[in-house]
Symmetry: C2
Subunit: 400 residues, 2 copies
Amino acid sequence: MNADFANFHEAFMRRALAVARCGWGATHPNPMVGALIVEAGEIVAEGFHAKAGEPHAEIVALRALGRAPEPDATLYVTLEPCCTEGRTPPCTGAILASGIRRVVVGATDPNPRHAGRGFELLRAAGVEVVTGVLAEECTDLNLIFNHWIATGRPLLAAKIATTIDGRIACRTGESKWITGEAARADVMRWRRLFPAIAVGAGTVASDDPQLTARLPEGVWCPRRFVFDGALSIATLNPLPRLLSDEWRSRTTIVTSERQHSVVVRKLEELGVQVWRLPAEEGVVSSAAFTERCAREGVTGVLVEGGSRLLSGLIQTRALDYLLAYRAPRVFADASSIPVATGLRVELPSVGLRLAEVRHSVFGDDQLMRGRIVYPDTLEIDTTPGEEHGAGDHHCGCDHD
Amino acid sequence: MNADFANFHEAFMRRALAVARCGWGATHPNPMVGALIVEAGEIVAEGFHAKAGEPHAEIVALRALGRAPEPDATLYVTLEPCCTEGRTPPCTGAILASGIRRVVVGATDPNPRHAGRGFELLRAAGVEVVTGVLAEECTDLNLIFNHWIATGRPLLAAKIATTIDGRIACRTGESKWITGEAARADVMRWRRLFPAIAVGAGTVASDDPQLTARLPEGVWCPRRFVFDGALSIATLNPLPRLLSDEWRSRTTIVTSERQHSVVVRKLEELGVQVWRLPAEEGVVSSAAFTERCAREGVTGVLVEGGSRLLSGLIQTRALDYLLAYRAPRVFADASSIPVATGLRVELPSVGLRLAEVRHSVFGDDQLMRGRIVYPDTLEIDTTPGEEHGAGDHHCGCDHD
């Protein structure tokens, strides 16, 4: 592929990515996919996957064309066409049937059992296949799906908003606002993407958040998890919004299996769901939580704090991904709330790091995000300092 | 100015900025300035200010042209031409004498007594003057000069390299390395820019840094300050590199005026300078330090830690600017070293913030930098936590 062709392909793939994003948050457990048909250098049809069970992007584009493609037609698609029978017939068959002779693809199928088989099948039938165009962007588009399909577990991602000195809230627990409007609007987009959002009980008590995605096109309520080993939020007066608003049936309290059934019944009468899971010292097992998510088809969870919940997820290696906003602020206050604590790190190389790092700027704020890579051994700090305690009582997150 | 002209002007101004940067770090106390002469849409001459006392960029470009400019010639210059007699005659006079009829300028003169006067003078003589082209970038180029000329004091800037959770070193003091190679190479560029670098005595004891700028084009040693109220580094065995290397005459120990003259004499015999300044409880007054810098013509100081030095400079509002690198790492260790401590911040809005924020990416790391804006009142934390102590003994910085 020479440089001119590369630019040409990238420009169309960028458009296919934009088309794919029309399915933002709506395709779970399927990936977002966008497709274009290009004839004589012009886009003549577009399609995206809108929802599980509905046609795949390639099929939508072919139908939108409404006629046989010209002999020079190229299909651009952000993800390797499927070659197996799922809820819909395989796309490779439809592509071959359409007579299209050239296919340009972004990401390879993240399912290790299928990766590259769609390409082989098309090539075997004489179709020219160009792969890896904007591969990183196309892969990044489906970070939830990629994890789910490869591991069978939900992607547990945390969103944090910190000062330059890494604090998520003041010593008082106050965190409104650390980041600016543009970064907070971006968080709404992530809330719309993830099938579920999770917070700790302390966050509910201090902030009474809604955890909805308030977007220009409307309000969306994802599934909302509250980690509450002690079932403390059921006793709050007035009841928090997560237990009383119009979307309370989308709230699930994650608690210890030893919790008293009276309170559980009270919550269920409110229309709220309760997951009673194995717990140790009042802290619900993150392994049990991810297993239950997997069983119920929850492919991704965005954890929005606080410090205590994050610390627990890090200590058990349960956290997979981090979205870290940074605002141009400095607290320089030893008692302000840290992102997480609980580890002993004696060398930079034995701390956590991110891979597949991506950067963005929102106004004066920065976002750094990536997949968490844990060191071989995590040393747990058994003598937490004063600071550690602070994170237990406060929310420690920019949420509402 | 319509959009086409704006793009045209910006493209040339971007080149003038690149030309100006040929004087990177070499022009103090003067600003970096770049100039181009453009005729019929082509650059026919370039110039930059190389060193104080040498000709200004506009003059260098006019001389490089070596003939009278064509009637359509335009002069591009990154900074408003000077209109007053300094060490060299005013540039406005030379521009008028050259016959150039159009001047396009980036930044306005930051000296409030001169700002805009160069423009007026040229316009009064019938020259067309376009101002504000890439004004932000052109202003940012001279952040040291701008502060110096407006306040008469050196720009005190701090460079930090942190994890996502805002830590500058592990609990052990180890900080090699938090950021990656590309970010550390960028730090070398800043070391070349600032006339002086400063560290605390703890940093010297733990890291034995050189504080030189190791650049592809060679090694440069800036003036090196060590804050050492107790004159402790003189007793280290072996002597630290700052007191023994080939550039030791560029090292200045900043200590208390009450320090014993025997140790001071020992240091002076090594060829090292000593500034004895007013101090309180062993901590040298930052006001006295900046005054002494001003008197000796040191226009900017890059502070490279540690945590204790930064905390002191923040508490006294002495720190003017922050360069904050962030690496995709998380320590999650309450005993790791914070950027700075010593304040009580109860609301995000009463913490420090940055203005004129600029963002860059170096490999997987990010840089956020800006001018520090202090709140009206700084509440000092008189009950430092456990964490505060940690910063006192360790280096807490990515330096060498």
